[in-house]
Amino acid sequence: MSNVNTVVFTIVVVLFVLVTFIGFAAARWRRAEDMLHLNEWGLGGRGFGTFIAWFLLGGDLYTAYTFIAVPALVFASGSIGFYAVSYTIMVFPIAFIFLPRLWSVCRVHNYVTPADFIRGRYGSRGLSLAAAFTGILSLMPYIALQLVGIQAVLTVMGVAASSNNTYVKDTPLFVAFVVLAVYTYVSGLRAPAAISFVKDTLIYVFVIAAVFYIPTRLGGWSHIFGAAQTHMAAINPATKEPNGTFIPTTKSVGSTQFDFATLALGSAVALFLYPHTITGALATKRRNVVKRNMALLPAYSVLLACIALFGYMAIADKTTAAAVKKAGNTQLAVPYLLQHMFPSWFTGIAFAGIIIGALVPAAIMAIAAANLFTRNIFKEFFKPDASPRLETRVSQWASLVVKFGALAFAVWLPHTFAINLQLLGGVWILQIFPMLVFGLFTRWFHRWALVAGWAAGMIYGTIAAYNVHTATSSHWASSSDIVFGHTVYIGFTAVVLNLIVSVVLTLILKAVRAPAGTDETLPHQYTADPEQAPVPAPAGVGVASD
């Protein structure tokens, strides 16, 4: 720990201790009579208003990894990284269409997870299992990536680089994660909800300061954009092609406009299919809270756009660019930039913001994955008469398992592995789009056809992502590949295939009159706005309705 800046380190530690305190104290916040119910532990009492939900969803959607990876992509490849900006705009009008309906039906039927809804809508355990499995599978690498985000910051702080021994090197990460795991276990969703206030404040402060201050150090925006444009047009000696693109091209292959649009659309749709974002949305009090937040959350996207521009600032700042090149890891671009540009006390605040920014989504993701396991695997297949208390206990333990799984992932496997899997996670989670989103509007699709479509999309997406190669890497080179001569996001192609299979098989299955399954939802429940949170029913009541 020889080259650790004491000021930076102290500020980060102090802020970390503060959020730890908040995390434990959150258990007493809006205290319920019985914390041992999934609506309490897993959804914070389903009573968050517009204000809290804004912080919670903001803290949930914009993860620390986004803050590290988006500027890293912009730094490495230029304009294509801005698909993230486009998608975080598009996501809100899209979610505005279907999210309120999901909220209503989940509220009326006391559904805790998206797979609960699919189970009720199609009367199919298999389909619900497919959704739960996909959700957990996509969340694991996502949580691991939050740790990768923390590691990037710790590396630049000098904390992680001091030893070659994995255990010594990752001790700070380990400590941070154990603390996180324990207060999530105790306080449930209330912990990340409370901590998100600290996270969002820190992030807002440092991003706004950076956006106004850094350009003055680098000769203004015109110089930043100029340096970026020159750098992107320059020929990379390794690939014999330009470093990147400054504006999406009109060609058919490469960082094209079509690739940009499909990446943005696919990611936008995927974002509100991820179980952790649905968990955040279901924790709200009223239907209108969800809608209002769709109009208020774009404020965070402005922040993300500024953060994406950090990638260009890192190109324009020669010291940062050289440090990143020396380390051979573009993910260090933002931490190095902040460290080089700001006085140590402010770097400490910014680094603490990123680290805490990783803890909030990691906690919500672990809760969401735990709820999926409990409701749709444990209760569905192993213990149908599980009481709400037992459900909550199982979820608490499952959240610990998920977190340590992710920790193992981040510490022992190469980072590229986690990144590739997260890329796949987006492709995978998109495959529940037909069953979930179309299911909110129509019962036309047949459950077996949806299972087949899901399987087709999962298999195609996984193989296609594995096969993408470039001059510098043989597999997993990108989230886009070439279909019919055009570069297109793999998730997009896979979900189109999924839809085609679902439609064709539905027509066939309807023709042969295959049993359609019972739908326990009613049309008016998709627009209902019950004021009271669903009454915790005694265990086993609903089993009779199966």
Binding site: F96, W221, F225, V302, E520, P534, P536, V541, S545
Partner: protein, 113 residues
Amino acid sequence: MTEPTATPSAPRDPQSAATRRTNPVLAHPITSLAIGVLVAAAILCTLIVPIYAHVTPKIGDFPFFYFYLLIYMPATALALWIAMRLQRRLQPRQPADTGTAGTAGDPVPGGVR
């Protein structure tokens, strides 16, 4: 966007009479159209990349592409806020019980499985 889609296989029960109340979209065609246009525009104006994938005209020091993406966010927020306000008009003045009616008349008590 807010109306329930007619679902052929939905369970038939005494409640469905209440759901077939005046269709809010048919009752307010212009408001509904406005909501549809606002939401569709919010999606399409960023999905159709050729609209803004240009370096020029520069606004200040910002190339058009980057400026457009920055400005687009407040615009989306505004569009959705208006859409939300308009949706309130679609809701017929209902007695206060409609919200909870869903739960009360729910054929699956509590809905917990």
